[in-house]
């Protein structure tokens, strides 16, 4: 925990006159599983968009392993080994599951914008894609167009796209949203395995998932972090209970 993998400094974001993120300072240590919780509309997804370059910051700075990445394009941030999933499933619907994954492993294997070699003849790409396919439990659905998958399967693919490039930092935005109980258990197991040895930042509403998974929890309320601590301390924190935990069934 000496150098932070991810560090946010006085991050602000306004849409027009509306301030959504109002000065967030936050730090996620290397190898840490960090959960970001907060009531609906607190700005959790917005914060993810700011970290990953989808929205520009109004002010403040984002650092990855000490390097300032503020204002970089999403693909440039990804190349610094930070990958993410989306709250609303964001896959390639007309391509097969396997092709989805092959596209997701290409950059990290150093293939760049290659159009002189056939993708079928790239053993590293095919092995990694196959491995991720099996890891997310979709091996039997390999050649199905992703748009035709069941909802939980699409969520699994969503996580698969995020982890396929073996990033150092993984951001997952409500990976279990809309899943049944058993599907959630399955997903948590998957997340636990894939985040082994990596830094994880996860937005999650299911408190069982949060407390079962996280080493540290930050609570975002109305665009501000009101607490950032170990799970048991967060559970005991009065401000958090008032603002959040008391109102949401765990």
């Amino acid at each position: 925990m000496t150098a932070s993998a991810l560090e946010l400094q006085a991050v602000h974001k306004s849409f027009g006159a509306t301030a959504i993120i109002r000065g967030v300072d936050m730090s996620v240590g290397r190898g840490e599983r960090h959960a970001l919780i907060g009531p609906n509309g607190a700005g959790k997804s917005t914060l993810f968009h700011l970290i990953t370059g989808r929205f520009p910051l109004s002010s403040g700075a984002v650092r990855l392993n000490g390097e300032d990445v503020t204002g970089l394009a999403p693909f440039e941030i990804y190349r610094r080994k930070l990958a993410r999933s989306f709250q609303i499933t964001n896959i390639f619907p007309r391509m097969s599951v396997y092709e989805n994954l092959r596209c997701a492993v290409l950059w990290s294997l150093g293939h760049g914008y290659s159009f002189l070699r056939l993708i079928d003849r790239m053993p590293d790409v095919n092995e990694r894609a196959q491995a991720v396919l099996e890891r997310i439990g979709l091996a039997a659905r390999r050649d199905v167009p992703a748009g035709l998958l069941a909802y939980a399967e699409q969520r699994a693919l969503e996580i698969g796209l995020a982890i396929a490039g073996e990033p150092e930092i993984i951001l997952l935005d409500e990976p279990t949203a809309g899943m049944s109980h058993s599907e959630t258990e399955h997903a948590v197991e998957l997340i636990r395995r894939v985040s082994e040895g990596r830094t994880l930042l996860i937005v999650e509403h299911d408190m069982a998932v949060v407390f079962g998974l996280a080493d540290r929890i930050s609570v975002l309320v109305y665009g501000e972090i009101i607490a950032s601590d170990a799970p048991e301390k967060i559970r005991a924190n009065r401000a958090v209970q008032e603002a959040y935990l008391g109102t949401v069934p765990a």
Binding site: F75, R79, L106, S114, M122, A139
Partner: protein, 427 residues
């Protein structure tokens, strides 16, 4: 374990996949060799050459529209500028440049590539509707500039060359039309193979990803506009190859070869054939070229018919003609096609009535508005009548009305029959 799985999969499928991939190509070569023996007239061979050129252009166009989701309204400028590059080099060849004429399509391709990179750099900064509008604007720009630069583009008359002026190579002089046919055939096969291979490279797959969801591509380490640029440049290269073939065949490039009409035509070819598959644009190119040549002999209104057909395809067959064919795959495999025959025959009757009525209306109007000097007496479907008589108009409108009503009545029954059969086929 996954390695084992991979290997068994490879052992199980690799050989048949190779075979399955080779069969259509072998078939294509056979057809190409057989066609000039079947069609020996100059007219027939011209038609074949035109089809070959159109196929290269349409498949190149589909690298953008079908593979990458980019709609261009001005792709003929790369066809045309490639052709102009080729025809200028052909003039250099006549002046003593040592270059086989057979390589001119490559010159055309390079010409297309250079301008594709230049204009692609500008237009691929935007996607979607804005991109489409920009391609239209760039086309207008190029056409207007081409009209100004007389020396390079030869104005309305164009720039001509002589394809027999090159050094003779293995006895090929391109004096005979058959030589041109084989030149087109070889370049077509090579281009198709390369374009097919491109779809199977990493960038080719990423093109599909950009088509499906450009935003997500950004979060996988790639810049979508860079991928669009590569697709655009590749597509322009092969459009230029087609232009180069056109230049060799006609020995003439004029400004109409880079304008709106040819741009629209290639779009229609690709879309009518079906942009969702590699075969679609090929089918579309063959069909539209045939209609263009065959219909323009019978009627001046062929563009109207083509436009009408295109609108119908956009309304009812978004995957093109090839999509309609592929739709029947499961039913054909189950051997149940005959179950649809009756329903289709039933639908054919009102469809023919409607078509006959529309054709009559169009032809009557064309005679009266465009060719009044021929007089009102005309013949259609073997029936002689007076274009100005009320009867002709009434009959035409009755046909259209009966056809429309009939189709409306029959459509649900055909759809129901189709659904039933598909269910049986799947079970």
């Amino acid at each position: 374990m996954s390695e084992v799985a991979l290997k068994t999969r490879a052992a199980r499928t690799r050989a048949p996949v190779w075979l399955r991939a080779a069969v259509p190509w072998a078939l294509a070569v056979l057809i190409i060799l057989a066609l000039p023996q079947l069609m020996t007239t100059s007219f027939g061979r011209t038609l074949l050459i035109e089809m070959g050129i159109a196929i290269v252009f349409a498949v190149a166009y589909n690298m953008l529209l079908g593979e990458t989701g980019m709609l261009s309204f001005g792709h003929a400028i790369y066809f045309g500028l490639g052709g102009y590059a080729a025809v200028h080099v052909l003039r250099f060849i006549a002046a003593g440049l040592l270059l086989p004429v057979a390589l001119l399509p490559l010159v055309g391709g390079l010409g297309g590539l250079v301008f594709g990179l230049l204009f692609g750099y500008l237009s691929t900064r935007r996607a979607g509707t804005a991109f489409a509008m920009i391609t239209l604007g760039l086309m207008e720009l190029v056409v207007a500039l081409a009209l100004i630069f007389d020396h390079l583009f030869g104005g309305e008359e164009g720039i001509s060359g002589n394809r027999t002026s090159g050094p003779e190579l293995f006895g090929i002089t391109f004096g005979s039309q058959l030589h041109v046919y084989y030149l087109v055939a070889v370049w077509m096969l090579v281009s198709l193979a390369l374009m097919r291979a491109f779809t199977r490279t990493p960038v080719g797959r990423l093109c599909n990803a950009v088509r499906d969801n450009p935003e997500r591509v950004q979060f996988l380490g790639y810049d979508p506009s860079r991928i669009r640029l590569i697709a655009f440049a590749g597509s322009s290269f092969f459009a230029g190859v087609a232009g180069g073939l056109f230049a060799v065949n006609y020995e003439l490039m004029a400004i109409n070869s880079l304008g709106a009409e040819r741009s629209a035509l290639v779009l229609l070819m690709a879309y009518i054939g079906g942009i969702g598959s590699f075969l679609g644009p090929i089918l579309g190119a063959v069909l539209v070229t045939f209609l263009q040549v065959a219909l323009s002999d019978y009627t001046q209104a062929w563009l109207l018919y083509l436009g009408l057909f295109f609108v119908l395809v956009t309304l009812f067959a978004p995957n093109g003609l090839i999509g309609l064919v592929l739709m029947h795959g499961p039913i054909a495999r189950a051997g149940l096609l005959h179950r649809l025959a009756a329903a289709y025959a039933l639908a054919l009757v009102p469809a023919l009535l409607l078509a006959a009525g529309l054709i009559a209306l169009v032809e009557i109007n064309y005679r009266l508005a465009i060719r009044p000097e021929l007089g009102p007496a005309m013949k259609l479907f073997g029936v002689a009548f007076d274009a100005k008589s009320a009867t002709a108009w009434i009959v035409s409108f009755l046909l259209v009305g009966a056809g429309l009503l009939g189709l409306r009545a029959v459509a649900p029954r055909v759809a129901a029959r189709w659904g039933e059969t598909l269910e049986v086929a799947r079970a």
